[in-house]
Structure formats: structure tokens, C-alpha cells
Amino acid sequence: MVASLVQLRGVTKRFYGQPVLSDVSFDIAPGEVFGYIGPNGAGKTTTLKILAGLITKFEGEVTIGGANVVTERDKTHALLGFLPQSAGFQNWRTVESALDTLGALSGVPSATRAKRIPELLERFGLSEARTKKVKQLSGGMTQKLGLIQALLHDPKVLVLDEPLEGLDPPSRKLLKDIIRERQRAGTTVLFSSHILSDVEDVADRVGILNAGKIATSGSIRELMTAFGLPIEIEVDLAVVPETLPFDGLGTVTPHKPDQWRLEVPTSGDADAIIHTLIERTLAAGGRIRKIGVAEPDLDDLFAQYITRSAARG
């Protein structure tokens, strides 16, 4: 077991007596990408602000790299790159001046800034806006500026509050690519979102926060089990054999023309079943166009899950 880089233990936060976070605990290992998911008002921003040292009055203990986020702020800040949910910049600043100052305050030497700032601006398609006043930027452009300031000093830990918000599809893809790149370089990433499908292709692990409580956390696969979701195998046949190959393997439902979905019993092994299906189909003279574990609609599931746990109270 690798020591965790980010650690929350029993975090409880109240605003005016109302609990907003109740006993939230989770760990993030070095180099891990953690997706922090929850509906509006769940307490995501509150958690991330605690990590960033912006909220200091709370119960519980939070550390980054072993340093306490309240009492050893200088140490944790040296490790951190943070994107607030709505990043503000001084009105009179140009894009360049804002980034240059924030980079300098993070301790990036001026030669490095002179190289990295244009690189990142280029990458996010903001080169043209270099000399524009920050207040003249569009919402998405401001969001990109916020992302650049978080990446500028190549921090060990990236904490991003809804980083995909307001970005167009190519920029969303770009950001996901960057997160993967950073991960390969050893950066630990924690980012929040409302949308489970947003995080599934980048996050190693997901934590689901609902009404201030961590409802569940784990890999997407583990979450599906937590959701009580059966695993389904989707079979697409080019030539349908006389006898269908599903006998005794599980419940089958026709899905589309020449397409079936087989629900794998909880005791079943999806890989072994796929193997059997292929053998049987070919033996019966059928031909397979496509076969594999069906992609569940995560967002549907998530919505169901939230509704269900809300009903449970």
C-alpha cells in the first residue's frame, strides 16, 4: 500500500450550524486521478476549498504530502495547483500579466515563465488573447486562463473544481489529454464534476458525494457494483445461427435487430461467458459482428443512484 498523498479524515464542515460536509474521508495515492462527483450543493467546492487552505474552520484532519492544510499552509501550497470554481482576476490585468505574476508568486523563475506561458497559451488556443485585458475574455476563455494558472508551476497535486465547465468539446478533450499527460508525469489530480461520464475516461477512482456525505468511492467498475448494476454482454450478429448461443448463460433480452444483451449473473465471469458465446456461435454457423461488455449509461445510473439515496434520506 502506497502512502496517500492527499488524505481527508472525518471532515465535517458547518455553515451557520448547518452541516455541509459530514464525516468525509478519502485518500488519493500519488499519481492517481480522482474524480469527485456530486450534484449541486453536495459540498464539492467546500471540500476542495478546504484542501486549498481557503476554508480553515472545520473539524477533522486534512493533509497533502503529509503536511496539514491549515497549520502548514506554506508546505501544502508549494505542492498545489488549484482551479477555483469561478476564478477571478484583477480587472486591469492582461492575460500575460496575470499569468506572469501568478507564476512568479508560485516561485517559477522568469526564464521558465517566458517559455511556459506562451506554450500553454498556444495549447489552449489563447495566443491571440495574450495582450487582452482579462475582463474582455469570454467565459470559456477565462476558464482556460484559470486552468493555465493551475498548471503553470507544474504542481505535484492538481485540484480542479469543475475544470470542464464552460469548455467546448475540443477543449474538453484537450483538458482530458493534459490530465492524462500529467498523470504519466507523476502528478496527482483531484477534480470535481456533476457528470459521471465526464470522469470515467480519465479518473482511476471516483468518489461520489451526496448531501455532504461520501456515498461511495472506488473504481468505476466497483461503483457499478455499488449501484447494484448487473454487467451486460452485448452481442451483435452478422449471421444469426439457427440456435442462439445464450442457453443457460443468463437472462437474454433482444436489444436492437440482431443484437442481444445478456445479463451476467453476479456469480458469473463475463470473460469466460464471452468465450463460450463465440465458440457456440461459430459452431452453429453464425458470424459475429461485435461482442463485448456493454457500456452502461453512467449518467442515467448516477441520476438513479442520487434519487434513490435521496429517497432513503
Binding site: 486549498a52 487552505g53 481557503l54 476554508i55 480553515t56 474552520k57 506554506d74 501550497h77 508549494a78 498545489l80 488549484f82 477555483p84 469561478s86 476564478a87 477571478g88 482576476f89 484583477q90 486591469w92 490585468r93 500579466s97 505574476t101 501568478l102 512568479a104 508568486l105 508560485s106 516561485g107 484559470g146 494558472q149
Partner: protein, 233 residues
């Protein structure tokens, strides 16, 4: 990190020096001074203002009074409104998540506003005096001492006003509250350095009161720093 503070001061100086309010001050203050010297007699006698100065208030002292109370108010409002609005727009989040001393942010604001406004005032006064000299008013030793005292008093008023502005900027959550606090509470404090020169109160204690003003500025900035450090931004 001293370099972080220096960097913030530099940035804030640029920010304030080019701000619209400052641009107006750069024009209005010299204008008032020049016009003032044209209209005023060399010595103002009688009236409440000159009492206790034994003879009257010089034109220079009067102009200093006018300019400093005007620009002191502007300095206080400018810095307070700036801090409150930047707090509300979450500008400081991106600063304080970096390994710097938080206090440096507001101290930089103080230094920037204080320097900009003081320079504008001193330039204005110098212009006024120059106009006066050109008109044929001779410069005597006492007059020069008087001018120096005026400039020191003016600096004190601006420093105290700016410090009050920083304090209320840190404390207040809305611009309106900050403005009201400055106009009704802050302005009474900023009068301390004006007492001997302009109001004729404790005239023999000019330098003592300047020292008191300096100490007040220090205390205000220190408390503001402490509060800003503790604040959840």
C-alpha cells in the same frame, strides 16, 4: 519572500497609477493648486482656521489642507473599494493558494495607493508654489519650512487615510459598508495629522503628532494584516 512583496507592490503601482480615479487626480489636484494660488492671498487671517497659528494660515498650508483632505478621502475610498470588490470577485483565491505571505497583498495595496496619491499631491503643491514664485512672491526661510511642514502633514493625512481604507476594505463585506465606514468613522481618524498645521490645535506638537500618525498607520496596517491572514477568502 521579499521578492513576492516587491512584485505585488510593482503590480499594484501599475494598476493604481493607470486607474481612472488616479488619472482624474493627476489632472484635478495640480489644477486646484494652481488656481488656488492664483486666487488666494499669501496669508489667510481671521476665521477659525488660522486661530492659534498667531497671524494666520499661509496659502501653502491652506492648499495642503485642501489637497490632503480631498485626496485622503479619495485614497481611502479607492483602496477600500478595490479590496472589497476584489474579495467579492474571488481575486485573492488565486493569490493566497500560493506560498506567499498573505499580508503582502494588502500591504502592497497600501504602498501603491499611498505613493500614487502622495506623489500626485506633492507635484500639485510644487506646481502651485512655483506659480506663486513666478507671480513674484519671494521664497523666505520660514516659508520653506512652512512648505516642508505642509508636505509632511499632507503625507501623514494620505498615509492615515489609506491605512484606514485598507482596514475597512479588509473588514467590510460590501462596498457600501466600506464607504460608509470610511466617511463617518475613518475621516475622523485621518484628521489627527491635520490638528496642528491646519486646525491650530496643539500647534507646538507638530512633530509629535506626526509620529503619532505614523504609529497609527503602523497599527492599522498590522491589524489589517492579521485579519486578512485569518480571513476565509
Amino acid at each position: 519572500m521579499a521578492s513576492a512583496t516587491a512584485l505585488l507592490v510593482r503590480d499594484e503601482l501599475i494598476g493604481f497609477a493607470k486607474s481612472k480615479v488616479m488619472l482624474v487626480l493627476w489632472v484635478v489636484l495640480p489644477l486646484i493648486a494652481i488656481v488656488g494660488y492664483f486666487l488666494l492671498p499669501a496669508t489667510l487671517t481671521g476665521g477659525g482656521l488660522g486661530d492659534g497659528l498667531g497671524g494666520g494660515l499661509s496659502a501653502t498650508a491652506f492648499m495642503g489642507f485642501l489637497e490632503s483632505s480631498l485626496s485622503g478621502t479619495v485614497a481611502a475610498l479607492m483602496v477600500a473599494v478595490d479590496i472589497v470588490s476584489e474579495k467579492n470577485r474571488k481575486v485573492y483565491e488565486l493569490f493566497v493558494i500560493r506560498p506567499i505571505r498573505r499580508e503582502a497583498i494588502i500591504w502592497a495595496k497600501f504602498i501603491a495607493v499611498f505613493s500614487c496619491v502622495t506623489v500626485a499631491c506633492v507635484v500639485a503643491m510644487a506646481l502651485g508654489i512655483a506659480v506663486d514664485v513666478i507671480r513674484g512672491q519671494p521664497m523666505t526661510g520660514p516659508m520653506i519650512y512652512d512648505a516642508v511642514k505642509s508636505v509632511v502633514a499632507l503625507t501623514g493625512v494620505i498615509a492615515l487615510s489609506a491605512a484606514v481604507g485598507v482596514f475597512f476594505g479588509v473588514v467590510a463585506r460590501s462596498i457600501l459598508v466600506a464607504v460608509i465606514l470610511i466617511l463617518y468613522v475613518g475621516q475622523n481618524l485621518a484628521i489627527v495629522p491635520m490638528l496642528p498645521m491646519y486646525l491650530g490645535i496643539l500647534p507646538g506638537h507638530f512633530w509629535v503628532l506626526m509620529a503619532v500618525s505614523g504609529a497609527l498607520v503602523g497599527v492599522l496596517l498590522w491589524i489589517s494584516g492579521l485579519l486578512f491572514r485569518r480571513a476565509e477568502l
